[in-house]
């Protein structure tokens, strides 16, 4: 037996990983967690530097408010992790490549991007959850990944129905929604349901922990297809889950909340303090290191140097005095007319498509008008296509790229050829599928 000192790896293992790419000449991606989607201009510049040095200058905002880089050389990963460690940044643990269960972690906690600006600020809760669960040895071996969203603006800007646990602020507490998931794993596409209770803010962290403990203890560990929390909620039902939570935490206050409308993006407006916010639309979330630096500089020049990402792959400038000046400067470098609610997954890198999600998005998004649009490259549903007014999900049959069409969560047409997609959208405008903006 030989023993080798590998102590320097200890601070990285369980906190950092690379994900698997299989397309576009990339073999690994790096998904940088941005809790609540909030970061400062200095950190954004550092991320731009990582993108430039290690990721061919490419960077993408994900629909979980992360930043994702590609073309990462695994031989350089420890150097990247060291830089991230110094910045207090962590990654998702990309354990989805394992064929077994129990490689799941708590993913980036998404928040309303305007917390504290147009509603109460619970970003502390996102940070507390992130601090406790990221890299915690007890919680990086969950049956499968676990996704959390928090919103306090009264609208669904965080894709409430797609998360394992969404916390929706209502009057003086959080109303939890549970068991959402847009991928094909069992029981298939499932919209998160209300638990019918309300949690006071001071008890929310313990509530979140109890839900995740239940996932850890009771979700299926034999089959990866059944290991998501949505399958447990589906098989148990809401009442049994609520009873188990009450057994651990005591009785909850009953609460009825009208189900929020699906799929909002905050575009521009006035904050509580009279300053303004403005959201830059970024089609498919695709950026580069140069524009990340520009965004950092403009956030300092026009606001307080803070940037917030959205679940529609856009970014928000907050605390802005001169919105028109900001828009003028941005218009030199960005197309401000691209739609705000248009999401495409990273299928150009994962290798599951021939005609990629972002290609489809770019080719038709500007024709979508006020309709929201999401393109997932495969049944894993990474773009949450069932939550959009118009959703497409890709498949390859006999070497040919096809897409299925969803309208507001309902499958309306299967096996569409790529060249038919513009025509289908024309049908939608004409009301063939009864979609109204």
């Amino acid at each position: 037996m030989i023993e080798i000192d590998a102590g320097f790896l200890s601070k990285f293992i369980g906190r950092y990983s690379l994900g698997k790419d299989s397309g576009n000449d990339s073999s690994h991606f790096l998904r940088i967690k941005i809790p609540g989607g909030r970061l400062d201009s200095k950190t954004l510049r550092e991320i731009a530097g990582l993108s430039e040095e290690f990721g061919r200058g490419y960077a993408e905002i994900t629909d979980r408010q992360d930043v994702q880089l590609h073309w990462i050389d695994p031989d350089m990963a420890l150097e990247i992790f060291e830089r991230m460690y110094g910045l207090g940044l962590r990654t998702d643990l990309c354990g989805q490549a394992f064929r077994e269960t129990c490689h799941g972690d708590v993913r980036n906690v998404v928040c309303c991007p305007l917390m504290g600006k147009i509603g109460p600020d619970f970003s502390w809760l996102a940070r507390e959850i992130n601090e406790f669960f990221s890299g915690n040895p007890e919680y990086i071996v969950l049956p499968h990944k676990f996704k959390i969203a928090i919103t306090a603006c009264g609208e669904d800007c965080v894709k409430i129905f797609a998360n394992d646990l969404s916390l929706v602020w209502y009057e003086d507490g959080f109303v939890p929604f549970v068991g959402g998931g847009m991928g094909a794993s069992m029981p298939g596409i499932r919209f998160a349901e209300k638990l019918g209770i309300k949690i006071p803010p001071e008890g929310t962290f313990e509530f979140v922990k109890a839900v995740i403990d239940i996932h850890k203890e009771f979700s299926n560990t034999e089959s990866k297809a059944k290991a998501r929390f949505k399958y447990l909620v589906h098989t148990w039902g809401i009442e049994r889950l609520r009873r188990e939570l009450e057994r651990r935490l005591g009785r909850f206050e009953e609460a009825e909340l009208d189900t929020p409308g699906i799929g909002v993006e905050h575009i521009s407006g006035i904050q509580h303090d009279g300053k303004n916010y403005f959201t830059l639309p970024v089609l498919g979330g695709v950026l580069d290191s140069e524009r990340l630096r520009l965004i950092a500089s403009l956030s300092e020049e026009y606001g307080g140097g803070e940037i917030r990402f959205t679940t529609w792959q856009n970014l928000v400038f907050v605390d802005v005095d001169d919105v028109e000046g900001l828009k003028d400067e941005l218009s030199t470098y960005f197309n401000l007319k691209v739609p705000y609610r248009a999401v495409g997954c990273a299928s150009d890198f994962c290798g599951k498509t021939i005609v990629h999600s972002k290609q489809i998005l770019s080719s038709v998004a500007e024709e979508m008008g006020d309709l929201s649009f999401a393109v997932s490259g495969c049944v894993n549903g990474c773009a949450c296509h069932p939550l959009a007014d118009v959703g497409l999900v890709g498949k390859i049959k006999k070497g040919k790229q096809l897409y299925d069409l969803f309208v507001r969560g309902r499958l309306v047409k299967k096996d569409i050829n790529v060249d038919e997609i513009p025509r289908l959208l024309k049908y939608l405008e004409e009301g063939v599928y009864e979609v109204k903006a």
Binding site: I2, D5, A6, K20, D75, A77, A97, F98
Partner: protein, 80 residues
């Protein structure tokens, strides 16, 4: 943290199961500073893809055997 290399016959064995990328690769490289004949056991498909590809390019002799959901990657330094 200590890496343990167990001697089994001619080779040393490094168990890198349940580790995400890039740690099986990083540990393999550390181990190869100490031994010339190594078998790495992984269950992470990207690591099973990367380790043979990267070390093969660096001149090591690499053989991969798949067994019950695991990959056993035998890595030897080429004779001079």
């Amino acid at each position: 943290m200590k890496l343990k290399l167990e001697k089994v016959g001619e080779k040393y064995v490094l168990d890198a199961r349940d580790l995400t990328c890039p740690f099986p690769l990083a540990m393999t490289k550390l181990a190869l500073k100490e031994v010339d004949d190594l078998e790495v056991i992984v269950n992470n498909p990207p690591s099973a893809r990367d380790i043979p590809a990267i070390l093969g390019k660096q001149g090591y002799l690499v053989d991969v055997e798949r067994e019950n959901g695991l990959w056993k990657i035998r890595i030897r330094k080429e004779s001079p």
